[in-house]
Structures are given as structure tokens and as C-alpha cells.
């Protein structure tokens, strides 16, 4: 087992922190968006740089991917990818509380991504006594081919990353999207340090 792998206790602890953060985030989002937001139990796994494009979307056809970097104290940093399916974008403006002609579909997707990412990560950060800053969200790609092309064309400077995938469901708007947090190997050690400290305090 590589030193980058989380052991069972660490994995459980991270899962628990994420569960609590998801609960609070979905509550905040529900109040802001005025509809129920379900967050499905996350999957946590290690991915290699080579397998990233495969693991991102094996079967589904993502049409849009928005990336946003996050960084906090103690070297906790990573990148959040929000992935959308074709049918999901129809009623976004409505969901966000904008008039459809006030903003383009791209802007709606980016706006929602930023809200979902920062709301979740803010709560997550407060769970581990941290505080996050964010880079501006960017639309990486807006079609299936360009998504995988984009990922495949990157010369990554990391070999392994910790991948946390959370699915958001807004049933009133029959809307789904996946949030994928990728934490590069240099930051995994830092996450483990934080988790170990929390485990000790129990």
C-alpha cells in the first residue's frame, strides 16, 4: 500500500466529514434555490493521471465541464470539476432565480457550479477548521469530445490524485450533476495529516 492511500480509519473519517458537510450544504442550497437538493453518498477513490479521462465519465455524455481551483490553509488544495449532462441545462435559469434572457446558458452553468462548489467546500473547510479560497470558475469544455480531448491533452504533473465524487440531484427540476473533487498527491499527505489530528481528538 502506497503512503498516499488512506487507511480504513482515515477513509471513514473523511467520509464522515464529507457526509456532515453535504448535509449542511444541501440545507443552505435548498434555502437559496428554494427547492430540495439531494446529495448522494460520495465515492472516494484514488485515480492515476492515465486513467483520469476514463474514470471521469465512462458511459454518460457530459456536455459541459466547469473547473474551479480551491486552496486553504495547511496545504489543502485541489480542483473541483462540475460535470453536466445534455438534458440538464434547460431550466437552469429558473432554478437559479434569473430571467432566462438575462444570461447565457454558459453563464448559468458557471454560476451554478461556483455556488455548488463553494457552498460545499466552505462547509467542508469549517469542519476541519480551515478556510477556502477559490479561483474563478472556468468552462473547460462544452461537448463530450472536447471534454475527453481536453483531459487527454494535458501533460499532468501528478501521478495519483484523490477523487471524491458527489452527485447533486434537484428533483423538482429533474436536474443532476456530478461534482468531482480532485486532490493532487502533494496535497493528499496534508489531508491525511488533518484527518489524523481529528482521529486523535476523538
Amino acid at each position: 500500500m502506497s503512503s498516499l492511500n488512506l487507511n480504513e480509519d482515515q477513509q471513514d473519517c473523511l467520509q464522515e466529514i464529507i457526509n456532515v458537510a453535504m448535509g449542511q450544504a444541501s440545507d443552505q442550497l435548498a434555502r437559496y434555490l428554494d427547492t430540495f437538493v439531494y446529495l448522494k453518498v460520495p465515492s472516494i477513490e484514488q485515480v492515476s493521471a492515465q486513467s483520469l479521462s476514463m474514470t471521469l465519465n465512462p458511459s454518460e455524455q457530459a456536455v459541459a465541464v466547469v473547473s474551479q481551483g480551491f486552496f486553504g490553509y495547511e496545504g489543502i488544495r485541489g480542483e473541483a470539476l462540475l460535470m453536466y449532462q445534455p438534458k440538464d441545462s434547460d431550466r437552469l435559469a429558473d432554478l437559479l432565480g434569473y430571467e432566462p434572457d438575462e444570461l447565457s446558458v454558459e453563464e448559468q452553468i458557471i454560476d451554478l457550479s461556483s455556488i455548488l462548489t463553494t457552498t460545499f467546500l466552505n462547509v467542508f473547510a469549517s469542519q476541519i477548521d480551515n478556510q477556502m479560497s477559490y479561483s474563478a470558475p472556468r468552462l473547460l469544455a462544452s461537448s463530450k469530445t472536447s471534454v475527453s480531448q481536453h483531459v487527454e491533452q494535458q501533460a499532468f504533473n501528478w501521478d495519483l490524485a484523490l477523487k471524491v465524487k458527489i452527485t447533486y440531484q434537484v428533483t423538482d427540476y429533474s436536474f443532476n450533476c456530478d461534482m468531482i473533487l480532485l486532490i493532487p498527491e502533494s496535497a493528499i499527505i496534508n489531508i491525511k495529516t488533518v484527518i489524523d489530528r481529528i482521529l486523535e481528538e476523538y
Binding site: L29, L103, S104, I110, D111, S114, I115, T119, N122, L139
Partner: protein, 318 residues
């Protein structure tokens, strides 16, 4: 010695607009960047509604955007890529760029009281005019490159690579929906003699003029390309053998009748034409090219300046 207020000093030296509003959209902070670019002193704007100072702001959108910052206590963004600018400010490259207002990246930050309540919103306004300008230029260049990649430099019709990609697509489509598809290939007769007798400039002129002539005889949906040297190819979607033969005969006749002036010479040329339509036996689009090519060489063998079909009848027409 007076204590320096670093934050205020730096805020006034930043090349970024720093604007703070309270929850009633009243301006409470206004740094030098804004003073200079909006040409308004702090005393003119402090206490005023942001909508009075910037009437161009989309009011409902802006209010909703800020409400996400207040309610979710999180930052929000607005990029020039989706919204060129929020605030109508002039930029610093007015001579060398063509945009009217400063392209902006805006960040909305919640400012919380000690009790954790958001009391103000800080708006950072970054000048993205340079990025916007170069990105736009890059986009235009990529478009030009993509076009150049499809076009034959001499004749300005599709080059072989792009033409074959089109045939590949049309072939799959016709197969999938069981539609008609026809292919015409033609070759200019004794073209080498024109190069030998009048020089390559004359040969080039003939290729250009014949391409223009044939293009003018085609429908908008037909795809015309230069297959190689003096060989040309036309994809005719939704066209049966009768229709394709009709087009082929008109092309043969038009080329035969045309006279190209080169210096004081009247140049005449003819073409041999092969026609085929999609057949159940064709497995790949290359099979259609092959069939049209066979018909074309039959037209050559039959004495040139003729149209031959590759289908069962294998007729020739002059």
C-alpha cells in the same frame, strides 16, 4: 511619524477596482482605480446606490448575484468570457484595441461581521482587456486556419482531404437513412499539353476558370473538391442516377463550350466524366470513388469528352 495604513495605501495603488456596497446596494468604499476609471471622486459616490452610479448594471441579475453571496456566505464570480463587462469603464488600450469598454473579471466577496453575518459585499474589478483582445485574435486565427485547412489554395474549392471527409460523412448518412447519393469525378483531357504548350501559368488559369465554371453549375448542397492534379470530384447528396447524369452532361457540355483567354490565345479544353450512385455492394465510401474512377477511365477510353456511368448499364454519352 504617522502610522502608515498599509491596506488603504495598497488598495489605492492596485490595478484592480475595489468597491464595497452594503446590503442596500449603497457604495461604502471606492478605491483610486475606480476614481480614475469612472472619473468620479469618492465623495461623489459614497452613500449613493450602485445603480445610480452605474445605471448600465442589469439590476435584477445583479441583485440575485449578490443575494447568493449574502445567503450562502460564499464568493461569486463573473468572467469577461461570458459577460464582457459589468461596469462601463474605459480601458487602458484605447489606441490599440477595438473594444469600447474594459473587459472585466469581477469577484464578489462576502464581508462578515464578528457574528458571522454578511454585512457588506466587496466587488473586485480586474481589467481583462488584454486577455480578451488576444483571445479574440487567437479565435479569429484558428478560424482562418481551419478554413485554410479545407480549401485548395489554387482553385479555392475543397481540397482532397476535406472533400474525402465530406464523402465519408455523406456516405454514412445515406447508408443510415437509406437515402440517394451520387458521385461525379472528372478529369481534364490532355491537360499536360496545355502546360507543355503555354506554360504552367496557363495551366493554373485553366484549373481556376474550370473550377469557377463548375461551381456555378452546382447546387448549394453539392460538395465540389479538387481530387488531385487536374482531377475533380463532386458529391451530390439526395441525387439519383438520372439527376447525376444530367448534372454530369451539363458540366461536360459547359467545359467543352468554354473558351479561356490566356494572353492572346484562346484555350479550349474538354473533360471526361465518370458518374456513380451509392450501391448496396458499396461497403465504404472508397468503393464509390473507385466506381466513379472506373467510369471516368471508360470515358477516356471511349474517346474523351464523354460521360460514363459505372452502374449496370455502363452507358456513355457525348
Amino acid at each position: 511619524m504617522a502610522v502608515i495604513d498599509f491596506c488603504a495605501t495598497i488598495s489605492d495603488k492596485l490595478n484592480t477596482g475595489v468597491l464595497v456596497v452594503d446590503l442596500n446596494f449603497e457604495i461604502v468604499e471606492w478605491n483610486r482605480f475606480l476614481q480614475v476609471h469612472a472619473n468620479k471622486a469618492p465623495k461623489e459616490v459614497i452613500g449613493q446606490s450602485i445603480f445610480a452610479i452605474f445605471p448600465e448594471l442589469p439590476q435584477k441579475w445583479f441583485a440575485r448575484k449578490l443575494s447568493s453571496v449574502v445567503q450562502l456566505r460564499t464568493q461569486n464570480f463573473c468572467s469577461w468570457e461570458q459577460r464582457h463587462h459589468l461596469f462601463e469603464l474605459p480601458h487602458t488600450r484605447q489606441i490599440t484595441t477595438d473594444s469600447h469598454f474594459m473587459a472585466q473579471n469581477c469577484t464578489f466577496l462576502p464581508i462578515e461581521s464578528d457574528e458571522g453575518q454578511v454585512t457588506h459585499i466587496c466587488i473586485l474589478i480586474e481589467d481583462a482587456t488584454d486577455v480578451c483582445h488576444y483571445q479574440t485574435k487567437l479565435g479569429k486565427t484558428l478560424e482562418e486556419l481551419a478554413l485554410a485547412n479545407r480549401i485548395d489554395g489554387l482553385t479555392q474549392i475543397f481540397n482532397r482531404k476535406h472533400w474525402e471527409e465530406c464523402l465519408d460523412k455523406e456516405f454514412s448518412r445515406a447508408r443510415r437513412y437509406d437515402h440517394e447519393l451520387a458521385l461525379i469525378m472528372f478529369d481534364l483531357d490532355h491537360f499536360k499539353l496545355i502546360n507543355d504548350n503555354y506554360g504552367h501559368q496557363c495551366g493554373d488559369l485553366v484549373l481556376i476558370k474550370i473550377s469557377e465554371l463548375v461551381q456555378s453549375l452546382l447546387r448549394h448542397c453539392d460538395l465540389f473538391g479538387r481530387y488531385g492534379g487536374e482531377e475533380f470530384a463532386i458529391i451530390l447528396p439526395e441525387t439519383d442516377l438520372v439527376g447525376a447524369k444530367d448534372v454530369a452532361m451539363r458540366i461536360r457540355q459547359a467545359i467543352d463550350e468554354t473558351v479561356i483567354k490566356f494572353h492572346n490565345e484562346n484555350i479550349r479544353i474538354s473533360a471526361s466524366v465518370g458518374v456513380t450512385t451509392i450501391d448496396a455492394k458499396d461497403k465504404r465510401y472508397e468503393d464509390m470513388i473507385n466506381n466513379a474512377d472506373v467510369a471516368l477511365y471508360r470515358a477516356k477510353d471511349a474517346g474523351r469528352n464523354m460521360v460514363c456511368t459505372a452502374n449496370e448499364l455502363e452507358e456513355c454519352f457525348s
